[in-house]
């Protein structure tokens, strides 16, 4: 049981987000890491644990001048950073490290120093998916959705409504890439990418990074910022092939990671003040709301359309604007974590008044992996 024994004491994104052609990928990691160390009042010699995804923790440790006693290179897609938080909390409790830095940097748009991602022709994906013409997540992550829509009678208009509501949140965030209000017609009339998915139902492709610093809760109160405590954590994986998901209307990885975190935290859905669900595409908040038990199966689209997750609603969701409107470098999980931390610190641009518990739920690959972190700003 991990309850408030570990805390976030440093958190920052890159100085710039969006289009950053003048920084390579490793410098995006470093820019975020330097900002997070400044936020915590720490220097590289104070860090003894390093975790990252996409790139190797060896690269990050060497580039920043850190000599770690613990590293984690778990790289399972965009939720890797949630999983790093989980592993880091366990490592701190076990005494393997005292002060752990988790970094993300990704030149997703400008592609400066960004290694290519392609399935090898002899891999299972290369043999049994790539020959049929998918080209990256927009034509892969979306494949299960028609089955979900038919099963629950969900319409294209309802999926478009997810994008409209998140744009409302983005409008409150000066750092969001897209801030102008949109309508469901705007979404449905945007360029067709992979029917039923239009451009505005797909995440942005931008450059950026973020970093977190964790330490034990008993040390956390001596740092400059208000500590954000880790209340519960969960992780799982299912399949590297979206075509082999057990259930096209639900993610098994979500159904393991989410409830594991809730059990560990000892809370229920009713206790949650603020929620982040990784939204690489517009259907992900629907799957996440249902698989984490916030609404019954098949009811998430109506729940969002009825403005429960919108500004002023009872369950504020993706309050930075999400991957659909805020930013999405490719592995968005770090930005969802940053927004949860801002909300718990009370400094988010669209701050949820009095929020005490934030759930941050991530996906990796195309429903391949999942990680869930539950934060609290109340001291143990």
């Amino acid at each position: 049981m991990r309850r408030k024994t570990v805390a976030i004491v440093g958190a920052a994104e890159t100085t710039k987000l969006g289009v950053i052609p003048d920084l390579s990928q490793i410098q995006l990691h470093a820019d975020a890491a330097l900002n997070a160390m400044a936020d915590a009042g720490l220097r590289p010699k104070d860090i003894d644990g390093v975790a990252t995804a996409g790139d190797s923790p060896v690269q990050i440790a060497h580039y920043l001048g850190i000599t770690p006693t613990w590293v984690d290179g778990t790289s399972v897609g965009g939720c890797s950073f949630m999983i790093h938080v989980r592993h880091a909390a366990a490592a701190i409790e076990a005494g393997l490290a005292n002060t752990i830095l988790i970094t993300h940097g990704e030149s997703g748009r400008s592609r400066v120093g960004n290694p290519p991602r392609a399935a090898a022709p002899a891999s299972l994906q290369g043999q049994f998916e790539q020959p049929y013409g998918p080209m990256g997540p927009p034509s892969m992550f979306t494949v299960p959705v028609l089955r979900y829509m038919k099963t629950y009678g969900v319409t294209e208009q309802q999926i478009a409504q997810v994008c409209v509501v998140q744009r409302e949140w983005a409008g409150k965030n000066p750092r969001a890439t897209f801030r102008n209000p949109i309508t469901t017609d705007d979404v449905l009339n945007s360029r067709m990418i992979a029917w039923p998915f239009r451009l505005l139902m797909c995440c942005l492709v931008t450059d950026g990074g973020g970093a977190l610093i964790l330490t034990s809760a008993d040390r956390a109160t001596s740092f400059p910022r208000k500590p954000v405590y880790i209340l519960g954590t969960g992780e799982s994986v299912e399949t590297p092939m979206v075509s082999q998901m057990e259930d096209f209307t639900s993610s098994r990885a979500f159904r393991v990671a989410g409830p594991t975190a809730f059990r560990e935290a000892g809370i229920t859905q009713k206790d949650v003040d603020h929620l982040m669900i990784y939204d690489a595409f517009a259907h992900l908040p629907l799957y996440g709301l249902e698989d984490l038990g916030f609404v019954p199966r098949g009811e998430a689209a109506a729940f969002i359309a009825e403005r429960n997750t919108a500004p002023g609603g009872k369950l504020p969701l993706n309050t930075n604007g999400g991957g659909l409107s805020y930013m999405h470098s490719g592995m968005y999980g770090m930005y969802a974590l940053q927004e949860s931390v801002r909300q718990m610190r009370g400094i988010a641009p669209a701050q949820v008044d009095g929020a005490k518990i934030s759930v941050c739920h991530g996906v990796g690959g195309m429903f391949a992996a999942s990680g869930t972190i539950i934060f609290s700003n109340e001291a143990p």
Binding site: G126, G133, M241
Partner: protein
């Protein structure tokens, strides 16, 4: 210069029987001799019970359309818009494929419609299992 074609699979020792099958006009699946589980993609053990006693058999080639997208972006070897589909074989497993002999439209591509396998030779080594609307 021919235009670049679609990405082609590179068989491995564990999957060679599948690609030998498609070349010979058979859709081959595996069944566990211990627990009876029929599974895909290929591997020399049962993903349900871990038994190494498994057999290759010729599947019926019959399926239903389980889900899909209609891709509108250019991809080597394809003319958009084209459907990237997942079918559910009557034997149980699902597989990604393309739907041929059928308009690539939401109206023509109805979930649960019956399909049958249609083999499309790519070169001397590789034939892909595509699917078309079932006849009769």
């Amino acid at each position: 210069m021919p235009e670049p074609g679609r990405a082609l699979p590179q068989p491995t020792p564990e999957t060679q029987h599948f690609w030998d099958g498609t070349r010979e006009g058979e859709l081959r699946l595996q069944r566990c001799d211990a627990c009876g589980k029929v599974y895909f993609p290929p591997r020399p053990f049962c993903p349900a019970c871990a038994s190494r006693k498994v057999s290759v058999f010729k599947a019926s080639g019959k399926a239903i359309l389980w889900s899909y997208v209609i891709h509108h972006r250019p991809v080597p070897g394809f003319t958009p818009p084209y459907a990237i589909a997942v079918v559910q074989l009557v034997e149980g497993p699902r597989m990604m494929t393309n739907i041929v002999d059928c308009p690539q439209t939401p109206e023509a591509l109805q979930l649960d419609m019956p399909l049958e396998v249609a083999f499309e030779k790519q070169n001397d080594n590789i034939t892909l299992p595509l699917f078309r609307p079932a006849k009769g």
